[in-house]
């Protein structure tokens, strides 16, 4: 059924910390690795040793942000499915392959029903869905549904592969329906934000904005130039060289 549930018991999702992400792409590789070998059709690559193109469920962009004053800042920006409350990709699906789970809010694709029309990818503003060219079905982040409930894995591994692998601790997994959860508190404390709020998708995943630079740059005062104008011998040298 492609009707969206009115509410979900839990709201599983990610918090992505743009302040901490170092753009190492480890989450991209961990995601591709896990999701190629486990649930659903593998994430194929086309012409990997020529002009490569492949299916990824998580990609890391990098943006330069120029504030009104001061130097520009580089922000690494991981992007995967945001498991929206009002997911437009689900309602457009004609076959019922796309659905949002009532129990935890995860948006999934049933690959045995997908006809590969691509309309859900058109409906997603975030580019979170990619049609796999080898399998002909739509692929998207499953929030590693085959890890998080997997009793065969040690408990510390029961979280999405991208979160498990992140060396910077920039990705957090949890239940947003619980106001006391790790992710809910992070979102509250750090003003977690929605991407493209004007699209009305009500994304579950939240992004933590980069912290202002001057608060953490403890070295800055020590690196200021100590003298603007030379004095003494240097002043004489400066003048002498100018006269030459």
């Amino acid at each position: 059924m492609t009707a969206l549930p009115a509410t979900t018991t839990r709201q599983l999702g990610l918090v992505i910390d743009l302040d901490t992400c170092v753009g190492c792409q480890a989450c991209v590789i961990a995601c591709k690795g896990w999701n190629t070998e486990n649930y659903g059709a593998p994430l194929s690559d086309q012409d990997p040793y020529g002009t490569p193109s492949g299916t990824f469920l998580n990609r890391v962009h990098s943006y330069e942000v120029q504030p009104e004053t001061g130097s520009a800042q580089l922000v690494h920006f991981p992007k995967s499915c945001l498991h929206c409350e009002d997911a437009p990709c689900v309602t457009v699906c004609p076959t019922g392959a796309s659905y949002k789970r009532v129990e935890d809010g995860i948006v999934l694709v049933n690959e045995t029903d997908c006809m590969g029309c691509g309309l859900c990818a058109w409906a997603c503003p975030y580019g979170a869905r990619e049609l796999d060219l080898a399998a002909g079905v739509m692929k998207k982040c499953t929030l590693c549904v085959d890890r998080i409930y997997n009793d065969n894995l040690p408990e510390e591994d029961r979280e999405p592969a991208c979160v498990r692998t992140c060396p910077a601790g920039a990705r957090h997994f949890g239940d947003f329906a619980d106001p006391d959860s790790h992710v809910s508190r992070l979102t509250k404390e750090r003003d977690g934000m929605d991407l493209m709020p004007e699209q009305g998708t009500k994304p579950v995943n939240k992004y933590l904005p980069p912290r202002p630079r001057d608060q953490i740059d403890v070295l800055a005062p020590l690196l200021n130039p100590v003298a603007e104008e030379p004095t003494g011998f240097l002043r004489w040298l400066d003048k002498a060289l100018e006269r030459l």
Partner: protein, 290 residues
């Protein structure tokens, strides 16, 4: 958006076919016997041809039969259901007219209503997408319906009706373009809102996530041919509206009638190519494009 030939042919041919079936349902022209077979045959060929073309767009067509399931939420599913209902009812009308020399008026009216609803569903597949602001406007279904009705009138040989309808379709097409040009800015989606980084400064793409291309770029950040859009708009409206009207104004001749239909078809094809090629998806913002 990528102007795939399959979807351009689908919207153009099925629109024209259902437009013709809409007129046949009203008994315009009130045909029986062999000529009913010919008229309904053309209508079915165009409508079914368009639907078949649309399946070439599917990456996994073996599941296409499941597309009739989700009509409660999905315009694409509604389009499929409406098309099958229209073809069934129009098929009954065709059998009645061709073999039993009878026209059941209420059944005809039903087929007309269904045919127009099918065209509306086709338009809503695109108009529902908030992610493509140019399509997400009331003018998209108005344009699809007026074009289908005008083309239907032309094919049904309703000369006096076709002339104003063709001019109306051309005018609506132009308004759709002009209104569409403003939609992306009006939607308010920018790289600032897409990244949430607008609060700390002006973001600029620094490095893309991948060195090659990908599905998203090929499908939704398609920029080919946009520089000729103004010229193509003039060509499209001239072919779909002006040339057929001139042909209809001249004394009737089968060659001129064929020319009118051909010009209209070509014009709508050009317009539909522009419909996709000019449509900008918000995901392009993440890549510094549109």
């Amino acid at each position: 958006m990528h102007p795939a030939p399959s979807v351009i042919l689908f919207t153009t041919l099925s629109g024209l076919g259902f437009g013709l079936l809409a007129f046949l349902g009203l008994g315009m022209p009130d045909v029986t016997g062999g000529s009913a077979l010919a008229f309904y045959g053309i209508g079915f060929a165009l409508a079914v041809g368009g639907l078949v073309a649309s399946t070439f767009h599917l990456a996994n067509p073996k599941n296409a039969i499941k597309a009739f399931r989700e009509w409660r939420t999905s315009w694409l599913s509604r389009e499929g259901v409406a098309a099958v209902l229209t073809l069934t009812v129009a098929g009954l009308c065709a059998v009645g007219a061709a073999f039993f020399d009878t026209r059941l008026a209420p059944l005809g009216w039903l087929s007309t209503a269904l045919a127009l609803f099918t065209v509306h569903c086709t338009a809503m597949i695109y108009a529902q997408l908030k992610t493509v602001p140019r399509w997400h406007q009331i003018w998209t279904p108005v344009h699809f319906l007026t074009t289908a009705i005008a083309g239907g009138a032309l094919l049904a040989g309703q000369v006096s009706l076709a002339m104003p309808l063709l001019l109306l379709a051309g005018g609506v097409q132009w308004v759709t373009w002009v209104q569409g040009d403003k939609r992306f800015a009006a939607a308010g989606t920018t790289l600032e809102t897409a990244t949430g980084l607008g609060a700390i400064g002006t973001p600029r793409p620094f490095e893309p996530p991948h060195t090659g291309s990908n599905y998203l770029l090929r499908e939704m950040v398609h920029v080919v041919g946009r520089k000729h859009s103004q010229k193509l708009r003039l060509i499209a409206v001239a072919l779909m509206s002006v040339v057929p009207v001139i042909c209809l104004l001249l004394p009737f001749n089968h060659l001129l009638a064929a020319l009118a239909v051909l010009a209209h078809l070509l014009g709508v094809l050009v317009a539909r190519w522009l419909f996709f090629a000019q449509a900008e998806h918000v995901v392009g913002l993440y890549y510094g494009g549109r």
